[in-house]
């Protein structure tokens, strides 16, 4: 069943996305026995070394009203394009330390191909179209602004 016209869901989570949230999310799907395949993408903050300094954390900010609209459009596009049972997207705002999770995309379908293709589609769309900004913080209180490749 395609779930359309649902109210807009809140995507932003304050701080990192905790592993417990991901585990709980998986557990909540055990009642949906028409699902045969899940795919999950987790974005993690890298401790990149830039000019000899190591990234300690990323401080995420967003044009939230537009971001929530874009997330909604991307979600609808994914439901149109792929046969999905459900999908969930969570993105951090505020400080996320290196090693912590900042993006959680979770797709579920009857079979693997739809879940996997949809997950990839969602991640690429999010990176390209959602107005989220990341300030990479270094140990010495300096910073630089992250740009998606």
């Amino acid at each position: 069943m395609i779930k359309k016209d649902k109210p807009k869901k809140k995507v932003f989570v304050e701080g990192p996305i905790l592993p417990e949230k991901i585990a709980n999310s998986i557990a909540h799907h055990q009642v949906k026995t028409n699902i045969g395949a899940h795919d999950i993408f987790l974005g993690q903050v890298r401790a990149d070394e830039i000019d000899g300094k190591i990234v300690q954390a990323i401080d995420y900010s967003a044009y939230e009203d537009m971001a929530e609209e874009k997330f909604h459009e991307i979600r609808e596009a994914a439901f149109d394009k792929f046969e999905l049972t459900c999908l969930h997207i969570y993105h951090s705002k505020g400080i996320v330390k290196s090693g912590e999770i900042c993006l959680f995309v979770f797709t579920s379908s009857k079979h693997r191909n739809m879940a996997m293709d949809a997950c990839r589609f969602l991640v690429e769309e999010i990176k390209a179209k959602v107005p989220i900004f990341g300030k990479e913080l270094f140990e010495d209180d300096s910073h630089q602004w992250k740009v998606n490749k």
């Binding site: 990323i58 107005p131 998606n148």
Partner: protein, 78 residues
Amino acid sequence: MTYSIYYFGKITEHTNCNYERLNCELSTVKGMKEALLKKYPTLRNETFKIAVNKNFIDEEILIANDSEIAVLPPFAGG
């Protein structure tokens, strides 16, 4: 015309504010870009896009009075 302008991310380091009301002549996105570069000359070194009422519109379309304008640096989600 009066426009509400929101600045995000690195752009705020040039404007030193994240919001302002701007009174100016009826403008297109192109005209708005020029006005911003005149007001904040260091923005010339930055890459940014302008959203009007949360959408990207053709640079030549006139921006209606009271529109919400956002100056957006490159995205970094995920």
